[in-house]
């Protein structure tokens, strides 16, 4: 039976950095949500931004 590129399975150490970075940003997100920021984001996002379109 063909075993294409199976030696890719040889053991590599698990990288820990992503498991630190992702929870840190998840925590930031939670703090932002807890302060009610998404409501402000929504308030801004539903208005036409004159800067984006080059008018203000």
């Amino acid at each position: 039976m063909n075993q294409p590129t199976r030696d890719l399975r040889k053991k590599r150490p698990i990288r820990k950095a992503p498991f630190v970075v992702i929870p840190v940003f998840l925590l930031l997100w939670l703090i932002g949500v807890a302060t009610g920021e998404p409501a402000r984001v929504l308030e801004q996002a539903v208005q036409v931004c004159l800067s984006c379109i080059g008018l203000g």
Binding site: N2, Q3, P4, T5, L8, R9, R12, P13, I14, R15, A17, P18, F19, V20, V21, I22, V24, F25, L26, L27, L28, W29, L30, I31, G32, V33, T35, G36, E37, P38, A39, R40, V41, L42, Q44, A45, V46, V48, C49, S51, C52, I53, G54, L55, G56
Partner: protein, 297 residues
């Protein structure tokens, strides 16, 4: 795999721009989905946009920070930085390769037959300048008499805003045409230059200007999903250098901040299976060139 990537780009582009009532409403979508950040650069003043632009939101929140603090609100942009930070930790600039409409537009423009040119590596540092100065420092520091800052990147640079929001809105609301001035002219000329550049060079905006690409690039070494180089297998044939749309020399810099994980080097170039995709260190995929062991060199 390239076809899969194209389809993912199309589907995400559609999902983030799926409000098609604008020919009748003559304005932008104003529903609750706009609370969600789009993963890539996608102007929230685009009439079809269903999500908010992370860069626009950050600039608006930082520009209004003094005002919000005076009112007892602490809007530092944490929810937005948190969202794109989680995305960066998971995918890094894979977002650029797979989920950004403006990156996709540049890829399509680059398909126009013409002579193609590289981009000096030094220019890639420009995007960090735009992130730090135009997205964070200037909106925060330069404020008017009411204490409000401007979204500097949106206002003076962003070609996605001009293309996706400015032009359609001017078309939909003819009265806006009377207010066009130097600000618009500046943004319009920049947009033409950047889109024109994209015909001759691969993803020039992504490589030299985009602050969101710069943010995701910060995760190049720590992101969960990334490419892995098996140095024992690499023959230094440099085939991977020639296919990279971002000018990365993969085997010399496997964690390069410019890599958008398009997988071209893995699937189209490396004949020695030296490149693989991994998730947190665990191999996720093998090259899909359809080679069997017998046909390999």
């Amino acid at each position: 795999m390239e076809t899969v990537r194209k389809w993912v780009q199309v589907i995400i582009g559609f999902l983030t721009n799926s409000s098609w009532s604008f020919p009748f409403t003559k304005t932008i979508y104003q529903g609750p989905l706009k609370v969600i950040c789009s993963p890539g650069l996608n102007c929230y003043s685009c009439p079809a946009a269903t999500t908010s632009c992370p860069l626009g939101s950050i600039q608006q929140l930082l520009g209004g920070l003094r005002f919000s603090l005076e009112n007892g609100q602490h809007y530092f942009g944490l929810s937005v930085f948190g969202t794109i930070g989680v995305l960066g930790g998971l995918f890094g600039r894979m977002i650029c390769g797979w989920a950004c409409p403006f990156g996709f537009i540049q890829e399509l423009l680059h398909k126009i037959p013409s002579r193609k040119f590289g981009i000096p590596r030094m220019l890639s540092y420009g995007k960090y300048f735009f992130l730090l100065v135009f997205v964070i420092v200037l909106p925060l520091v330069l404020v008017d008499e009411f204490g409000t800052g401007n979204p500097w990147f949106c206002k003076f640079v962003c070609p996605a805003g001009t293309l996706e929001a400015g032009l359609p809105m001017i078309f939909l609301q003819p009265n806006l045409r009377n207010t066009l001035g130097l600000l618009f002219l500046n943004k319009f000329v920049l947009m033409i230059l950047i889109l024109g550049w994209a015909v001759f060079a691969s993803r020039p905006f992504c490589r030299t200007i985009c602050p969101l690409g710069a943010f995701y690039a910060l995760f190049s070494k720590v992101r969960l999903i990334k490419l892995h180089l098996d140095e024992a297998k690499c023959t230094n044939c440099k085939a991977c250098h020639h296919v990279c749309p971002m000018g990365v020399k993969f085997n010399e810099s496997p964690d390069d901040p410019e890599c958008i994980t398009c997988l071209a080097c893995m699937n189209k170039a490396c004949k020695f299976d030296a490149i693989s995709l991994e998730i947190g260190g665990i191999p996720l995929a093998v090259p899909d060139r359809g080679l069997t062991p017998a046909s390999k060199p």
